[in-house]
């Protein structure tokens, strides 16, 4: 460490080295890796390949000639230059080609590409690629180093794998177990329309599946580096999201009870929820005994600490409701900024125990929050084809081989000439012929 390093504040030192605005020009973690992404109508496959593309892999998106149906996933059908917003967001750094995998000529071209590919991602019903003669069984014969990742709600084996049902985000969320423990509890004999198991608003099931696929593929590339062997990876996005559950199965084993939905409360922590304040909602937490004492000190209600001294008292649902009302009296009399300031002032000056404040923001508020722009989390990108766009960057900041967004998306088949020429030496005549035959 140089003398300058020693005296330099950590935050400044590290910002100099991992600020995402300095990512371009640095090496890429997955440089040299070739990926064929045949995802079809699945954001989980697309997110997995975004991961690989943002870390530097050459990702070739293979769509049917009419385009991936996922291009039509968009709020109320809103299209930007013919592409829906869900797809537009996950086209990052990928080359976009078309290939009709149902036709022998398309399968033949795919086989040739697969011989020299490192990774294949697909999301068809299990066995579909196999039936076309381009599944892992066939492709790994010529390319034993191939890593082949299939994503499907019910996976590639097990009693339900052959059920034939489709994979859509909402079923992954429903099967994961997370939906059953999210949402408002039912109060009366009949549930009101909102007192039901409730999914996450975003495509959380699909994104969890994509992230696990990214993880498994990178573990497999590391293993291949060491042992020279590829493999078949089977990911269920439902299990992927289900692995992120706090607890569930062991709770049934131990107590034979399902876990209830408790709205914005938490069955394992209190206080840990949103409280109404003068101008919105404040999140406040202070659970462990020492933090609860800090909490009661800040809101000047040490009597609550007397009444609910242990975590056992605080994890009783009836008690939670009483404490909630009492705490809300304090928050209702203040604005969010006043609450935040009072809590942080305690943390700064007294600092015995810690109370954690936060603001309930709409995505509109979030988009106006300076911090995300300063940190390069939200970025404006001027895409060569789609123009100026606002997207979220990968959250990882890395000093050595950071991820980055080079372009946001490409239209259907936009890279046919470039990729098929580079990989298969197709010239204008062949390209025209394949197009006329409906192969590309």
């Amino acid at each position: 460490m140089s003398d300058k390093d020693k005296s330099e504040k950590w935050s400044e030192w590290i910002r100099e080295k991992d600020d995402p605005t300095k990512a371009s020009g640095k090496p890429e973690a997955l440089e040299g890796l070739t990926v064929l992404d045949c995802s079809n109508s699945s954001m989980s496959g697309l997110f997995a390949s975004s991961y690989l593309a943002e870390f530097g892999a050459e990702v070739i998106r293979i769509e049917p000639p009419e385009g991936d149906p996922a291009r039509e996933f968009s709020p109320w059908g809103y299209m930007h230059m013919g592409t829906g917003l869900g797809y537009l967001n996950e086209g990052r750094n990928k080359y976009h080609v078309t290939l009709n995998l149902k036709e022998p000529a398309g399968q033949q071209a795919f086989k040739t590409l697969a011989k020299r590919a490192d990774v294949i991602i697909e999301t068809f019903l299990p066995g579909t690629m196999d039936e076309w003669g381009i599944g892992y069984r066939q492709l790994s014969v010529d390319n034993p180093k191939l890593i082949y990742c299939a994503l499907y709600t019910y996976g590639q084996f097990g009693p339900k794998a052959s059920c034939g049902k489709a994979d859509v985000d909402v079923v992954n969320q429903a099967y994961s177990g997370v939906t059953a423990v999210s949402g408002e509890p039912q109060n009366g004999a009949e549930p009101s329309p909102s007192e039901v198991p409730t999914k996450a608003g975003n495509w959380m099931g699909w994104y969890a599946g994509g992230a696990w696929a990214g993880l498994a593929i990178m573990a497999a590339t590391h293993f291949r580096h060491l042992k020279g062997k590829g493999q078949f990876i089977d990911i269920s996005p439902a299990e992927a999201f289900g692995r992120n559950i706090n607890y569930g199965i062991t709770y049934w084993q131990a107590f034979q009870q399902t876990l209830p939905r408790v709205g914005n409360l938490d069955v394992g922590i209190f206080p840990y929820t949103f409280f109404k304040c003068k101008d919105g909602y404040a999140f406040l937490a202070g659970f462990a005994d020492i933090n609860w004492k800090a909490f009661c000190t800040i809101i000047e209600r040490l009597d609550l600490r007397e009444r609910y001294p242990t975590v056992f008292d605080r994890l009783n649902l009836d008690n939670m409701k009483v404490m909630y009302k009492e705490i809300e009296k304090w928050t209702l009399a203040r604005t969010y900024d006043e609450i935040f300031e009072a809590v942080m002032e305690y943390n700064r000056t007294i600092g015995v125990g810690v109370v954690v404040p936060g603001k309930l923001c709409s995505p509109k508020d979030a988009m106006g929050t300076h911090n995300w722009w300063e940190r390069g989390v939200l970025i404006k990108q001027n895409d060569p084809h789609y123009g100026e766009l606002t997207i979220a960057n990968m959250p990882h900041k890395m000093t050595g081989s950071p991820p980055r967004v080079k372009w946001v998306c490409r239209p259907v088949g936009a890279d046919n000439d470039y990729i098929f020429n580079k990989k298969l030496a197709w010239g204008p005549t062949k390209l025209k012929e394949m197009k006329e035959q409906g192969i590309i």
């Binding site: 504040k9 935050s11 590290i14 080295k17 090496p27 973690a29 997955l30 109508s41 039509e72 968009s74 917003l85 537009l88 019903l125 066995g127 039936e131 084996f157 097990g158 009693p159 049902k165 489709a166 909402v170 079923v171 177990g177 409730t198 999914k199 990214g214 993880l215 573990a219 497999a220 293993f223 590829g230 493999q231 692995r243 706090n246 607890y247 569930g248 199965i249 049934w252 131990a254 399902t258 876990l259 709205g263 069955v267 394992g268 929820t273 949103f274 975590v311 994890l315 649902l317 309930l360 923001c361 995505p363 995300w372 606002t390 979220a392 990882h396 900041k397 890395m398 050595g400 081989s401």
Partner: protein
Amino acid sequence: MAKKEYFEWTESLFDPEKTFEKPEALEGLKIVELCTLVLGPSLPAYLSELGATVFKVEIPGMGDTMRSLTPFAKFFKGAALGWLKEARNKYHLGLDVHPEDGKQVFMDLVARSDVVVENLRSGTMDRWGIGYRQLKKINPKLIYIALNGFGQWGPYMERPSYDAIAQAESGMAWISGFPDKLPMKSGIWVADLYGGLNGAVSVLAALNHRDKTGEGQFIEISQAENMVRSLDWTWLYQHFTGNGRERYGNRDVAICPSDIFQCQDEMVAIAAATDEQFKGLCQAMGKPELAEDGRFATHPARLKEENATVLLESIRTWARENNYAQIDELAGKHHFAAQKVSTNKDHFEDEHLRKRNFTYTIEDLVYGEITQEGVVPKMSETPARIKWTGRPVGFHNEYILKRVLGYSSEKIKALKDDKVIGKWVDTPLGRKPPEDWDGKSGLPLA
């Protein structure tokens, strides 16, 4: 019957019975974890399932605060359920890194490891003299990942955070729940557990980079920023329309139909994401003509508010007239999506999930038979696995100090006498071994 043969082949290829005959993808990778609560500890747990060796460093006595996280304060054999699941396969070292001797033990461990994971506030480790700047000197190939609420620099770097704050400030809570109700926090610590997952991906990206170049690096992840990235079309929608994204209950406004419906006996998610799937659903409903109707014939048409409302209402009516078994069968036959909202009981009893080692039972040397959410990736050559579930604070002290670091018995005793290393306390719950533990089972080098 090509399909039948395919499934016979996959059954044999991925057979969980063969797991322990096969190698592990991350065998030999050593990770030192200095983390508390969930965001940090989940990351090494995921990597441990793929074969990494994880040394979890905890403060002697109390250990990780996470050891208290359990629903309604109900413990399983003295262990918190929120902790147990993310402590699997780890070696537990009760070590205080504040005294100089403790820092030295930590640095000795890091010198022999590949990855450090910490989740303290920005600059804390640096101030303690065991941050990235110091550790990379003793281990230049080190991959160091720091996870926390708002990152290592920037306007919010001093702010403490929890999972729910990441959900709240990213906008995720806002877009979840019903329009006429409050924004909804997820029923799980999604920003923690999904944050740790995304952190794990970047560790492996860095490992791939190190495989090629021999170089380590520093990585930071912010929990909230991680959720910002997961909000799919939100930012583009706001960019183009100037409207804010709101919440729409269980309905997906970007895929139609996609919603959760009440059928005769269950709440069931039903969706069709393509024209083909939609045709199948219409046939199942006995209304094939809907697929030809101009209002529903294409996906962009179905997504229009006025059309979506009509369509979802007709599915709602149909769902109410059928039970889940009927809908499930029709979905398989006609290839649309349908799945009942599954509970922990459903997972426990699900033969499919058991077969796939998602519902994963082990016989643990300390906790006995235990069933948990198991492993996600099924890998033909390097299957993921659980070897043991969590262990009490400091359970592996002797093993790590002797076997891994080669310390003498005298040195270990001195560290113990100076309270630099230590084991569990009896209270609060969640730190000590279960009542029926025999005092030696599960202890390596006991």
